[in-house]
Amino acid sequence: MAEEAFETVVATHHAEIHRYLVRVTRRPGDADDLSQETFIRAFRAHASLTPGSNVRAWLFAIATNLCRNYWRSESRRRRAHEAAGETAAHHEEAGGEETMVMEQAGEEIGRIVAALPLRQRLAFTLRKVHELEYESIGRSLDCSPDTARAHVFQALRKIRRGLDAHAAMRTESTR
């Protein structure tokens, strides 16, 4: 019975958790591993989950926790920076005059987000991409909802500054 219920959990949430992990790690291979690990852990703990709990928020908490462990490794952090660099280079090549502004801005935000400190990046992605409540984000990050909110706002300030700088650079280069 618990097994059947878990089937549904996987079917409902796996794709979204995977997307989240791809965004925050920027390495699809690692996201594959982490998403598997998230659900393996969830499977083990599923029985002890209080009935009526928010399964989605619980899965995000597990995934977030795994991300934090993942990022504690210095070499991974370095690889991620390289990955961010690669994507940036790739996008500069692909970026032509025709590219839509929104799309380009979206990509630019992706680069800025990748360079954010981990907790800001996680909080921002949980809130702005996956629209979790600050309560849940706080639980995922072991902080208060207010602190979670502060992380998100700090991320927004940096995105705003980053976009301003990007716009300024583009204006100069087109001159």
Binding site: A2, Q36, T87, G106, E107, F153, L156
Partner: protein, 321 residues
């Protein structure tokens, strides 16, 4: 942002909140009042509203190479493997002390007398080589049946058994033969050895039952020594064996550090016979216990379809209760 007043600095978080549609009503009113008179914050607000729109665009772009198909397939296969190894267990207080009951996807895979200090899964998991997950809800129904059984309100535990933890084919045959011993019936290790076609393997049978992964359900307590002594149970907890037999109506007498079934106080059935006899019938008491299955009461013998022996007529001359 050249001349940022204290008020502007203080209102900035609310301003971001308003721009990203997260502000409570009071904060929204504060910001509204402030930007009416502050052009710089008005443009800040507009800028953050733009950022919010772009963040939405970012959210809607596909994450890079976010194809979860492969990860999902790998996950499913890992889960399938995990499921086949996982044992969900609960520990319950029984009249015989704490008992752990574990189930796998194949059936009941563990029944174990546990000590109070060992009530957590780590040790159980290490011992069984399985993934032990504490899940009392999953095993609670089984425990209720077991409790009824230990109370004498139930005489069968028709549970699907997972015997994958058996150590050998021989042990499996021993456990299966033991599982078929009816309620209230007792046989000897030699009797089981005969039944599985290995009449000289009495000691090996005893060894196999010593490592019974499913005590009570596979009723090794119904298997005793050839002289009627209970011999051993759950390490040194011979009292449990006595109690389990008593529940089934087989009474034992205390002896030197052990208990034994009083051979004069039970009914006898030859291993492949269809009748039950008094102990006085045809020199039964001179024969080894290994040739018989014995019953504590006529009711238990008749419950498995046995007829009273037409020579000794246990139905007319029952043993004193």
């Amino acid at each position: 942002m050249t001349t940022v007043s204290r008020e502007c600095r203080e209102i900035e978080p609310d301003l971001i909140a308003v721009a990203t549609a997260e502000a409570p009503a009071a904060a929204a009113r504060r910001v509204e009042r402030h930007v009416e008179s502050c052009a710089s914050c008005r443009s800040e607000l507009a800028r953050y509203q733009t950022v919010d729109g772009l963040v939405t665009a970012y959210r809607d772009t596909r994450a890079p190479e976010a194809d979860p198909t492969l990860a999902r397939a790998q996950l499913e296969s890992r889960l399938a493997d995990l499921r086949s190894r996982v044992m969900r267990y609960g520990v319950f207080d029984s009249p015989l002390g704490p008992i752990a009951i574990g189930v796998s996807e194949h059936g009941v895979s563990m029944v174990e007398y546990v000590r109070q200090a060992e009530r957590t899964g780590g040790r159980l998991a290490r011992r069984t080589g399985e993934e032990a997950v504490e899940d009392p809800r999953r095993t609670e129904g089984l425990y209720r049946e077991l409790a009824d059984y230990l109370d004498g309100r139930r005489t069968r535990l028709d549970w699907p058994l997972d015997l994958r933890r058996t150590r050998s084919d021989f042990q499996r045959r021993v456990l299966e033969a033991t599982a078929h011993l009816p309620y209230g019936a007792v046989t000897s290790y030699a009797g089981i050895a005969r039944q599985i076609g290995a009449p000289r393997a009495t000691r090996a049978v005893a060894q196999a039952l010593r490592h019974n992964p499913l005590p009570i359900v596979v009723p090794c307590h119904r298997v005793i020594g050839s002289r009627g002594d209970l011999t051993g149970y759950a390490g040194t907890r011979i009292g449990l064996k006595r109690d389990l037999l008593a529940v089934e109506g087989v009474h034992t007498v205390a002896g030197r550090g052990d208990y034994h079934v009083d051979r004069r106080a039970v009914y006898y059935k030859y291993l492949d016979g269809g009748e039950y006899c008094l102990p006085t019938c045809g020199g039964i008491l001179e024969k080894p216990l290994g040739e018989f299955t014995v019953f504590g009461s006529r009711a238990r013998a008749e419950a498995v379809g046995l007829q009273p022996c037409s020579d000794c007529r246990p139905d007319l001359h029952p043993l004193p209760a």
